[in-house]
């Protein structure tokens, strides 16, 4: 599918407003909503993956070393990961800092 510029012309709109690009919501970076961001202290992290499982955005991923980090393009700063972290390895800090 060729990339169309938004907003589309009436000829460009897909019939029925069907969307043929699964997962294209990724184009919208919800990270701009954030007031706080999570910071991982890998010294405390036990690599359990609980933060990954509880993120409503699904933006926390495991890196090559087995530690976790949130994708700042999407993290809304809800604080669930920090709250649920067993060894308290995640801390929420203000965005401005």
């Amino acid at each position: 599918m060729t990339e169309k510029k938004w907003p589309e012309t009436w000829q460009e709109v897909n019939p029925g407003c069907m969307v043929f690009r699964p997962g294209s919501a990724k184009e919208y970076h919800t990270g701009s909503w954030r007031a706080k961001r999570p910071i991982w202290d890998n010294a405390k992290c036990i690599k359990c993956g609980v933060c990954y499982i509880y993120c409503p955005e699904g933006c926390i991923t495991e890196n090559a070393d087995g530690f976790f980090e949130a994708n700042m393009d999407y993290c809304k700063g809800c604080g669930i990961c920090a709250y649920e972290c067993w060894p308290k390895a995640i801390v929420m800090v203000n965005e401005e800092d």
Binding site: W6, P7, E8, T9, W10, Q11, E12, V13, P15, G16, C17, M18, V19, F20, P22
Partner: protein, 391 residues
């Protein structure tokens, strides 16, 4: 090779719907269309049709199930009338917006208040703006032909719109007529298997029914408008092909004895056949009267209408529904709108007849034609008349 047999029109509609090989049928019974879902369930139960038959618990669910099935790429069919159609109303514009070619036979019946199970057009008139292609059958043969044509029209890649076929409740649904019933081979030759534009399947995940923000809704409506307008070309092509294969001709507006006619009657549906007899009688008495029968209601055939009324001095539009608080009958309003810019147009009167199954006789058509011919000047308050209301 098809056979000419006598059959109740509702049963015939079900038989040909089955010949079109629908994959999913979801219908809820409501008088007077009941015989259609009943007979289709018979056909499936006997093993004559390989389809999923869903005994839905309401008409809203019927049309919703058809949406879901059509979304997966299945050919779908349903049927309803009156209150059932109104219960579906919330979903009807969505079906056309989503470009799902659901086919529906409507056994036209009066809309309630008071409840009335007999024939008029009020149910379909509530659906003018829903973006469905709408055909009107005047007899059993047209019913059978239009059901098959509807699948081809709706599924055409240039259309991709739902189609409804309107047949008068009881007046057509419960009447036995001689009908040339095509056989499976003839239908298969005319109607290829359904190739959907998009399908709900994990091999190619896609989203149907997205949310349209103000930035895009306007364009989506423009596109939908274009689709229904373009569908007319496909309707005409399909009718041309039908004539070649089956020898029966269809036009958006069929003219009956209109040569030299000064007064024209305009009908939709089975009342046209009664009007034909009236025209014959009037012509025998030397009165230059003709008849126009609308077969394509949506998209409205503006060009054909303007051409058909050229030269006529007076036009009587027969409506079978009232647009309360409006300019009279819905068809009348559309005709007036179509003719508004014409430099020469016939004086147009509106007779609202046959409400709630009220019988309209040949004599009534003769009376209305004569009144139309003799009316010299039309006062705005006389533009429409609910014919025959006892005073």
């Amino acid at each position: 090779m098809g056979k000419r047999i006598g059959m109740e029109i509702a049963l015939a509609a079900a038989e040909v719907a089955a010949l079109c090989r629908p994959d999913v049928i979801a219908a809820y019974p409501i008088t007077p269309n009941t015989h259609i879902p009943e007979h289709l369930s018979d056909i499936v139960a006997e093993g004559r049709l390989d389809a999923e038959y869903i005994c839905v618990e309401s008409e809203h669910s019927a049309i919703s199930a058809c949406c879901g099935a059509s979304g997966t790429g299945a050919r779908t069919f349903t049927a309803t009338s009156s209150q059932g159609l109104l219960f579906m109303q919330e979903v009807l514009p969505i079906v056309s917006s989503m470009r799902l070619p659901v086919i529906m036979v409507i056994g036209n019946r009066a809309v309630s208040g008071p409840i009335n199970i007999w024939n008029d057009h009020s149910d379909i008139m509530y659906q003018r703006d829903t973006g469905w292609v709408s055909l009107f059958a005047a007899n059993g043969q047209e019913t059978v032909d239009m059901v098959i044509q509807a699948f081809k029209i709706g599924e055409h890649r240039d259309v991709m719109l739902p189609v409804n076929i309107n047949i008068d409740g009881f007046q057509l649904t419960h009447v036995v007529e001689p009908i040339f019933m095509p056989d499976q081979e003839e239908v298969d030759r005319f109607l290829p298997p359904y190739k959907p534009f998009a399908q709900l399947h994990p091999d190619k995940p896609m989203t149907m029914g997205a949310l349209g923000l103000p930035e895009i809704f306007n364009e989506a409506m423009r596109a939908k408008d274009e689709a229904i307008l373009q569908s007319k070309k496909v309707v005409l092509d399909v009718w041309k092909e039908w004539e070649k294969l089956f020898g029966r001709k269809y036009e958006p507006i069929e003219s009956y004895k209109t040569e030299g006619a000064e007064t024209l009657l305009l009908t939709m549906g089975s009342m046209g056949e009664t009007a034909e007899i009236a025209v014959d009688d009037l012509r025998k008495d030397g009165l230059p009267v003709g008849l126009l029968k609308i077969k394509l209601w949506r998209p409205f055939p503006f060009e054909e209408l303007r051409k058909a009324v050229k030269g006529a001095k007076a036009l009587a539009v027969m409506d079978r529904a009232v647009s309360f608080g409006g300019p009279g009958g819905p068809v009348f309003a559309e005709i007036r709108s179509a003719l508004y810019d014409e430099p020469k147009k016939p004086k147009t009167l509106n007779f609202i007849i046959g409400l709630g199954g009220r019988d309209v006789m040949v004599e009534d058509f003769i009376k209305m034609a004569k009144k139309t011919a003799s009316t010299k000047k039309l006062k705005p308050e006389d533009a429409y008349e609910i014919y025959g209301a006892r005073e």
